[in-house]
């Protein structure tokens, strides 16, 4: 199973095996990773599963569609490497993906 590395803004890190096909958000929720609220349940409607993707992974993951970028406008302290974790679907290619959760989601 692909491993996803979830860092928080305090420098804590957790490596979780997430099933192929689940989203990085679902992997976090199912494993009680703090810092991801996912209020809308993954319908790209709330921006509370916002994460920063480690720079070296940015080109390896599918690009955000327009609706996701629009939604990231609403996120708390968005940066260039901001993504919504509900839109990142786990696959073998994403094995080792590193994401950092923001200090808060709202």
């Amino acid at each position: 199973m692909p491993k996803i590395i979830y860092n928080d803004n305090q420098g804590n890190s957790k490596t979780i095996e997430v099933e192929n096909g689940l989203s990085v958000m679902e992997g976090a929720i199912q494993n009680d990773i703090p810092g991801i609220d996912a209020d809308c349940g993954g319908s790209m409607a709330c921006a509370t599963c916002h994460v920063y993707v480690e720079e070296k992974w940015l080109n390896k993951i599918p690009k955000a569609e327009e609706a996701e970028v629009d939604m990231i406008d609403m996120a708390y302290e968005p940066k260039k490497n901001s993504r919504l974790s509900c839109q990142l679907i786990v696959s073998e290619e994403l094995d080792g993906l590193i994401v950092t959760t923001p200090s808060k989601q709202s």
Partner: protein, 337 residues
């Protein structure tokens, strides 16, 4: 204090269908919601997005679903208390008293909490000094246009609200429109108007940049923004408007003594009652083994909760299960002959 049979908290699809299920049983209800209109997440988060899993409705938008539900409950002439948030819930013998931030008080034997993920509130600016100026020089919504005349106004956001207010207020004030990226998301006509006003020197567009700080003692003097390039700019500002949409906050629900599981209320799956007799929870806000956060699950949950509501509101009457197709009483309640 208004008396009713059931107080429904939340005017989303589940709250609206609760009105129906109570209404056909002859129970009165009132509905309270923090938003200015019914529909909840359907209206606020995805009014134009399609929903494909409402039984017998192959496709509809959040707005269409809301309008159909409102039509379905029209015969019950239910009173809605919008723009109001429930602050306090307290017990009064067999009844519950609910108080809102608008000082309305309601008394009923039943409460159905259909509150989604909580109440919608504006997403606030992250800088710490924002709070100090809020409601005086910094606003998350425009309530009074008059006080925004002949000012230096800095507007944050890249969506419709930010663009529409930039256009409107540029008629009599100097506008800075500040956004974290170069692209704005708005109607093509609005975007071209903005560009035109930028050329005329009425709107100053600052992108891609974000707010660093707000300066001023008793009022706002300037704001400081930081561009992606690292460049810092200080802008003379009297008023800041921020439009970053709404966020859902659980709010006071957590303080009503209900058993909570993360941000949800624990219920039994027989009648969706919480640990408090007469308080029910349905829709996204409730949790029980196997819970699915689907609108159709919420419909089922309020149908069953409504039966228990009947028993509590009419302790001396026997509950009779009836079909809308054949029950003359239900049909008369629906205004059919």
């Amino acid at each position: 204090m208004k008396k009713t049979d059931t107080i429904i908290i939340g005017a989303g699809p589940v709250g609206l269908f609760a009105v129906h299920q109570l209404g056909i049983k002859g129970l009165k209800s009132i509905v309270i919601d923090n938003l200015d209109k019914a529909g909840g997440q359907c209206i606020e988060l995805y009014p134009d997005k399609p929903i494909y899993d409402i039984p017998a409705v192959p496709e509809c938008t959040g707005e269409e679903l809301t309008n159909k539900l409102l039509k379905q409950i029209k015969p019950f002439k239910t009173e809605f208390f919008l723009n109001e948030r429930v602050e306090e819930v307290k017990q009064d013998e067999e009844n519950w008293i609910v108080k809102t931030n608008n000082d309305n008080e309601f008394l009923a034997p039943n409460i159905i909490v259909a509150g989604g993920v909580g109440s919608f509130e504006p997403r606030k600016l992250a800088v710490k000094e924002a709070e100090k100026f809020e409601d005086k020089f910094l606003f998350y919504a425009v309530k009074d246009k008059e006080q925004l005349k002949n000012k230096n106004i800095s507007i944050f956001g890249g969506g419709d609200s930010a663009l529409d207010w930039a256009l409107e207020l540029s008629k009599f004030s100097k506008i800075n429109l500040i956004h974290r990226r170069d692209e704005f998301r708005g109607a093509p006509h609005t975007l071209s108007e903005i560009k035109k006003l930028e050329k005329e020197g009425k709107i100053f567009i600052k992108t891609p940049c974000q707010l660093e700080s707000i300066e001023g003692k008793d009022k706002i003097d300037t704001i400081t923004i930081k561009f992606d390039s690292g460049k810092i700019e200080q802008i003379k500002t009297d008023v800041v408007l921020s439009f970053f949409g709404l966020i859902m906050k659980l709010g006071p629900i957590a303080e009503w003594g209900l058993n909570m599981n993360k941000k949800t209320i624990e219920v039994n799956s027989k009648n969706f009652e919480t640990n408090k007799k007469g308080i029910f929870a349905a829709g996204d806000i409730c949790s029980y083994p196997g819970k699915l956060k689907l609108i159709l699950s919420g419909f089922h949950e309020v149908a069953l909760a409504a039966v228990e509501c009947f028993k509590r509101a009419r302790p001396n009457e026997k509950y009779r299960f009836e079909f809308t197709t054949s029950s003359k009483i239900i049909q008369s309640r629906l205004g059919k002959k």
